[in-house]
């Protein structure tokens, strides 16, 4: 964008500045407006799952409901507890929202990239990790026992789930050979825009693991333990009201949106799809944006479905799920990703490896043959690992209930 402005006759520093301001404004407005309608989308879809209508009064189909609610929260009293640590209490929502907005900087909108960072994957994970600081600040600064419990739970959960989350990305980075989100999207453009990583055995398992870990990172059901309303009221948000509460809410939904965007980029091919390359130019860019948003909202719909159905896990079960279930599978997936790369990309990706070890044994086979071998091998490894771990964690389901219809004694023997 800056180049286009320079061509229009702006000084180069000015065009960079203007371009940055436009980008920042778009991200902030897009993110928060997107979040508002995300709440509407979630409420309406859950309502239909629960046999009711949901918000449908404000505006057409209730589309303006989030705006009326934004006005409501802004005009509410902003109460701070008397014994709270006032500065920390004030800063906590700011830290949370700041971290979330930062992650939006590198997220590609289809094929349009605000910033193409060469370590974008790390950046996204790092900004996600900042959330635990905000949570701890809110929990500690509120001087409330429920908030403290919520903050503690939140930090424990985020730290545990960051590990499988980061390690679930490693296969993607291996397969692409880059940490740049743009490169990752480009790498998934084979087969007429359908060469998404999710279609390979490695990517499929990675997708499932990454999405599950991301649910925990975004505090979505069944991992919404830090704000479990039936146990600890609203967790670390208990003592927040008015605008500060709205900022927490905004940050939560924006980070959920960011998770969906990142998942779509990493595993579902980002803005790639049939027809994008054929159209090219601005039309192709818009089509890629449509593809990208469709994929992201489909992922968000999965989140909504899960939220409407399952109960939440307990804290200890959450931890054992992360360490005993996700982590081994993630490690196995890295192994099979290494095989995948070794078989398919050895000579292309790392020429020096070819120099050292010689060409891979299947180098003279056609690419298709190598692909078939890679798919079969990784499928065997991954399916075997999943089956094994399911078997190991399986419980014996005994029949619990029996019924009786004989004339009953009092049973007081």
């Amino acid at each position: 964008m800056a180049d286009a402005l320079t061509q229009l006759g702006f000084a180069s520093w000015l065009s960079v500045l203007i371009a940055s301001i436009i980008k920042v404004t778009l991200i902030l407005v897009g993110g928060s407006v997107g979040m508002m309608f995300l709440t509407w989308y979630e409420r309406r879809s859950i309502s239909y799952m629960q046999d009711r209508r949901g918000p449908n009064r404000v505006g057409p189909q209730g589309l303006l409901q989030p705006i009326s609610e934004a006005i409501k929260t802004m005009t509410k009293e902003d109460a701070t507890p008397r014994d709270a640590d006032k500065i920390v209490h004030f800063l906590a929502p700011v830290v949370m929202l700041g971290a979330t907005v930062l992650s939006f900087a590198v997220i590609p909108w289809g094929r349009m990239f605000p910033v193409d960072l060469n370590a974008a994957v790390l950046f996204v994970i790092a900004t996600g990790g900042l959330h635990s600081i905000g949570m701890m600040m809110a929990g500690w600064g509120s001087n409330n026992k429920f908030a403290l419990l919520g903050g503690m739970r939140g930090v424990a959960q985020l730290i545990s789930y960051e590990i499988p989350q980061v390690m679930a990305i490693i296969p993607v980075v291996l397969m692409t050979g880059s940490m740049s989100l743009q490169k990752i999207v480009e790498a998934q453009n084979d087969f007429a825009g359908l060469g998404w990583y999710v279609f390979s055995p490695v990517g499929l398992l990675g997708f499932a693991l990454f999405f599950t870990a991301s649910l925990a990172e975004g505090e979505r059901t069944p991992f919404d333990i830090p704000e479990a309303d039936s146990e600890i009221i609203a967790g670390y948000m208990t003592e927040y009201s008015g605008m500060k509460f709205a900022v927490f809410y905004l940050s939560n939904y924006m980070s959920n949106l960011a998770v969906c965007f990142v998942t779509a980029t990493l595993y579902l091919g980002g803005g790639n799809g049939p027809g994008v390359d054929a159209l090219g130019g601005i039309a192709g860019g818009l089509l890629s944006l449509v593809y990208f948003l469709l994929k992201s909202f489909a992922l968000f719909f999965v989140m909504v479905l899960i939220r409407a159905t399952v109960p939440r896990l307990r804290v200890d079960q959450l931890m054992s799920f992360a360490w005993k279930f996700l982590l081994p599978l993630v490690l196995v997936n890295i192994l099979s990703a290494s095989f995948w790369v070794a078989l398919l990309r050895w000579d292309q990706q790392w020429p020096q490896l070819t120099e050292w070890f010689g060409a891979p044994s299947t180098a003279d086979a056609t690419n298709w043959g190598r692909l078939a071998i890679a798919i079969v091998l990784t499928l065997l490894i991954n399916a075997g690992a999943v089956a094994l771990i399911m078997r190991l964690t399986n419980r014996n389901v005994q029949k619990h209930l029996y019924t009786t219809d004989e004339e009953l004694a009092l049973g007081l023997s």
Binding site: P222, P311, V397, E407
Partner: protein
């Protein structure tokens, strides 16, 4: 070992999942519960004292307010006590109507109670709202026969206040067509869900002997493996004419109570079907015309009568001195007595389990505090 400090938390009286104004003074070590002290009385309304001032009929609407989910059952139990005390005959049709209302109450109570329990577990209201949908339909039926949705005030001494008509029976049959689908849907939603199993199995175990020692009744007792149901043990009204089973659990955990309640809804449905089939025509009347409702005087003496309310054994104990109002009036409220086992059921589990265990007992504070 790391030295940890115990933390005392008040869960309630204002808390999203204490089912009313119940307060639990909880001592936790991290997330693990060390001690639990139930505190109640926030909803005390002097119910038993009022029962000694009111005339017998005046007290009938007050019983609605005990367990406000099942006012029909409360009315039935109270009417039965006064009928025993005053020796009043009840026409057969009225008995059948009472059974129909009781079983409808049981379905609506279990549907919502299990919905609330799953809500406490974190399933975002889907199960609850499906239950509420069925409850609304049943409440419509109650409104048609009694004029009120929740505070029905339907029973009278020697019968019921209004007869049911053909419209009611056709509508009830329509409603019942939908019920098996609801049971299946509700089971299909979560019954074998891995997360539900992890959260409910072997949680809040109440062993058989402890349950008996606390004189726990209802689905909680049956979940612990004691096949005790007043409808079978002491068949009142016309319950001896129906074929139904008593579901019994084996472990006594939250999951057993959940299963027992779902199975009981299915059994209630069977009873409803049989009751509609056997319902005698209106020739026998729906109320004993000889009873003077407003100036009923019971001979001096005492009476205790009980019914199987959806929450357990609901009994009324009335002592009469021959005047028009009770000399002593006592309610044996199942919620209150089931709640006394809470602390023993919760110890050693985590805070997250405590709210689920409380939900699985299924209390109504109107009945606990009276």
């Amino acid at each position: 070992m790391l030295k940890t400090e115990e933390l005392q938390i008040n869960i309630g009286p204002q808390h999203p999942s204490t089912h009313g104004v119940f307060r639990m003074l909880v001592t936790v070590d991290g997330e693990t519960l060390v001690d639990l002290k139930p505190v109640f009385g926030y909803l005390h309304r002097n119910h038993e004292q009022l029962g000694e001032v009111n005339t017998y009929l005046q007290n009938m609407p007050f019983t609605d307010r005990l367990d406000y989910f099942n006012s029909m059952v409360n009315n039935h139990a109270y009417a039965r006590t006064i009928e025993t005390l005053a020796g009043v005959e009840v026409p057969e049709r009225a008995q059948y109507i009472r059974v129909i209302m009781d079983e409808l109450s049981r379905i609506l109570n279990h549907a919502t109670a299990m919905g609330f329990m799953l809500g406490d577990m974190g399933a975002w209201q889907t199960a609850l709202l499906w239950g509420m949908r069925e409850r609304e339909k049943i409440l419509d039926m109650f409104e048609y026969v009694s004029g009120a949705r929740m505070m029905c005030n339907y029973c009278r001494f020697g019968g019921v206040v209004r007869d049911i008509d053909d419209w009611f029976i056709t509508e009830l049959k329509k409603l019942m067509q939908g019920l098996p689908h609801y049971f299946d849907d509700f089971e299909g939603l979560l019954l074998n869900s891995e997360i539900l199993l992890a959260r409910a199995r072997n949680i809040g175990v109440l062993p058989k002997d402890l349950a008996l020692a606390y004189s726990v009744t209802g689905p909680v007792l049956r979940g612990s493996g004691v096949a005790y149901d007043i409808r079978k043990a002491e068949p009142y009204a016309v319950y001896d004419r129906f074929k139904f089973k008593v579901p019994v659990g084996t472990v006594g955990d939250v999951y057993d109570r959940f299963l027992v309640r779902i199975a009981e809804m299915r059994e209630s449905y069977k009873i409803l079907e049989q009751a509609l089939e056997q319902l005698p025509d209106a020739t026998g009347g729906f109320i004993n015309p000889k009873v003077k409702q407003q100036s009923l005087k019971a001979p001096a003496g005492e009476a205790y009568a009980r019914v199987e309310s959806p929450k357990g054994e609901l009994g009324f104990y009335v002592v009469s001195d021959g005047t028009g109002s009770a000399y002593r009036y006592k309610v044996r409220a199942p919620s209150f007595i089931n709640l006394s086992a809470l602390a023993d059921m919760c110890k050693g589990y985590t805070i997250a389990d405590v709210v689920v265990i409380l939900g699985s007992i299924d209390i109504v504070m109107g009945e606990v505090d009276r």
